[in-house]
């Protein structure tokens, strides 16, 4: 299967009379986009804003981030099973407005977190301080039930991203990345001496605001599933996770899954990338044991020599991560785990909720309790009152001069457990 991702570099966004890209400038017809979003009658109103890298803008609370993309030469556009009917993805040519992002904001519950600072200290800790962001803030119809509210916001963001990219369908891409891979049997025949690596991606699957979707199916409903890496790179997996800001996998990060990208880069050279197993992190113990058992079984069936396992969330999913690790290691399959830690503000606490001696190779994505001081912003996009909720009050996090003290766990993507960001912890 061969997927080409064509990058059209975006160097600025402005509102204008026509949605188009010219010389790196993305112009957006605000009214047209707003009308499109309001077609969903759950949505009463929508506010659109722009946030550029370096501007003293704070975006809060962020629900999801999506990369604008369009399928070249296809009548069917959008995310299969979500914003369009089920269709095949992972092959052909997809154009990307590279450097741009749609950011949906607005709280469905009051203590949703998720800051993106486009400037200062905060910018270092989120990857989305470097993208040109179109910020979408919807107002739901009065009395809209929370599940519907969440769905409305999710779809609005995905639709907006497809709308923006549409104008780039027939544009010349400045850079084309090729993701091509034979099937599993062919790869093993072709690279008999390369170690076989499987990527297990754990997805939070526990209920409202803690969901993931694969081809539109809520990940709560699935059994561990093997997919082709191109499918995730081309929109098959999206995020419904809005509560854990620092380590949730945004849709943008699914589209650009860094573990997939980094394994692909070495495929056929140093390793044989077998594929991706999506594993739901369920609530019940029975469900967890089932997920872990089946995941390990898939790895064994495929003959994996090594498995990289990434987590989403913190707390009960730590158990799943370590059970999978233990099952694999006991069968002689080598694991590397990617997870974040909650070691307290002083860094002294035990990092995970659980431990197992078999976890000898772990990449730490950072301590979610690490304190940072954010500089005062000139513009706040979103809910100003949400600022006070950040990290839930152990002392006044908002200083008189407008600076904010908060933990990393409030910043989008700060401790990304798919290793999207370059943060870690060191032992001192």
């Amino acid at each position: 299967m061969r997927l080409e991702l064509g990058r059209i570099f975006i160097k600025d966004i402005q509102f204008g009379s026509e949605t188009k890209v010219s010389n790196g400038l993305l112009t957006v017809n605000k009214d047209e986009l707003a009308e499109l979003i309001k077609e969903d009658d759950r949505i009463k109103d929508v506010k659109l804003d722009i946030a550029r890298p370096g501007e003293k803008v704070r975006i809060i609370p962020v629900k999801d981030v999506i990369e604008p993309r369009v399928k070249v030469g296809s009548k069917v556009q959008g995310f299969p099973g979500v914003t369009s009917a089920m269709h095949r993805v992972g092959l052909g040519r997809t154009n990307i407005l590279y450097g741009a992002a749609v950011v949906t904001i607005g709280d469905i519950v009051g203590m949703q977190e998720g800051i993106v600072d486009m400037f200062g200290e905060g910018a270092k800790w989120t990857p989305f301080s470097k993208t040109f962001n179109l910020v979408v803030d919807i107002t739901p119809e009065a009395g809209l039930e929370p599940h519907s509210h969440e769905t409305a916001v999710r779809l609005a963001g995905l639709k907006a991203s497809s709308y923006l990219a549409k104008c780039a369908e027939n544009m010349e891409a400045e850079e084309v990345l090729v993701y091509e891979m034979d099937n599993v049997a062919e790869n093993i025949k072709k690279y008999p001496d390369l170690p076989k690596i499987l990527y297990v991606e754990m997805l939070i699957s526990q209920g409202l605001l803690h969901d993931g979707f694969i081809y539109g199916v809520n990940s709560k409903e699935i059994l561990p599933t093997l997919i082709h890496p191109n499918e995730e790179l081309d929109g098959a997996v999206i995020s419904g996770n809005c509560v854990a800001a620092c380590d949730k996998i945004t849709t943008y990060q699914h589209q650009n899954n860094s573990v997939i990208q980094d394994l692909y880069a070495k495929h056929g050279k140093e390793l044989n990338f077998l594929g991706v197993v999506l594993t739901p992190e369920l609530t019940t113990l029975e469900g967890k044991f089932r997920s872990c058992e089946m995941t390990a079984n898939l790895a064994k069936m495929l003959g994996a020599d090594g498995v990289i396992v990434s987590e989403e969330g913190y707390g009960n999913p730590d158990s799943d991560l370590l059970i999978i690790c233990k099952k694999l290691e006991q069968e002689g399959i080598k694991t590397v785990l990617i997870t974040d830690e909650c070691s307290g503000q002083d860094g002294f606490s035990q990092p995970l909720a659980d431990t197992t001696p078999e976890a000898v190779a772990v990449v730490s994505a950072g301590n979610v309790s690490h304190l940072v001081k954010l500089d005062p912003a000139e513009v706040i996009l979103g809910n100003i009152a949400a600022i006070e909720n950040i990290s839930g009050g152990w002392h006044d996090s908002v200083q008189e001069d407008g600076r904010i003290f908060c933990e990393l766990n409030a910043i989008i993507g700060a401790t990304s457990e798919i290793g999207f960001h370059n943060v870690t912890t060191v032992l001192r």
Partner: protein, 135 residues
Amino acid sequence: MIIFKMFKRGGGLMKYRILTNNPSVAAKYENVLYIEGTVDDVLVKTRNLIQRGESLVTHPLPASIRMMYTPYRSIVIGQASGSSDFLQLEIVEESITKYRRIIEYRNVDIKNNRDYENLDLWLLESALYEMNTNI
């Protein structure tokens, strides 16, 4: 009198009930052991019941840092066959230890009481759905 409900488990039916300090949950369901107290109280009661042989159906901890600060927590417990399961005991003890360490320097998020109350209920509903849709 605590009423139990049944759900299918391992080819048979298992009784379960909900341990919670969440008034919305207590109002909605019958098979509830309501605890007037904190999340810590709910976790400790869960541990005590597991020690006495009941079984853990849902994991005691939530799945994200933000949810750790919740003032409400609902946990589903099932009636077990006989002796306590060591793995379950370990899970619940480690959950208490971890929870206390995380909460140590924080205040409970009272401002967002109502939202946490709702979230806990919705997550519980998902869990019950998960329990009841599998044969």
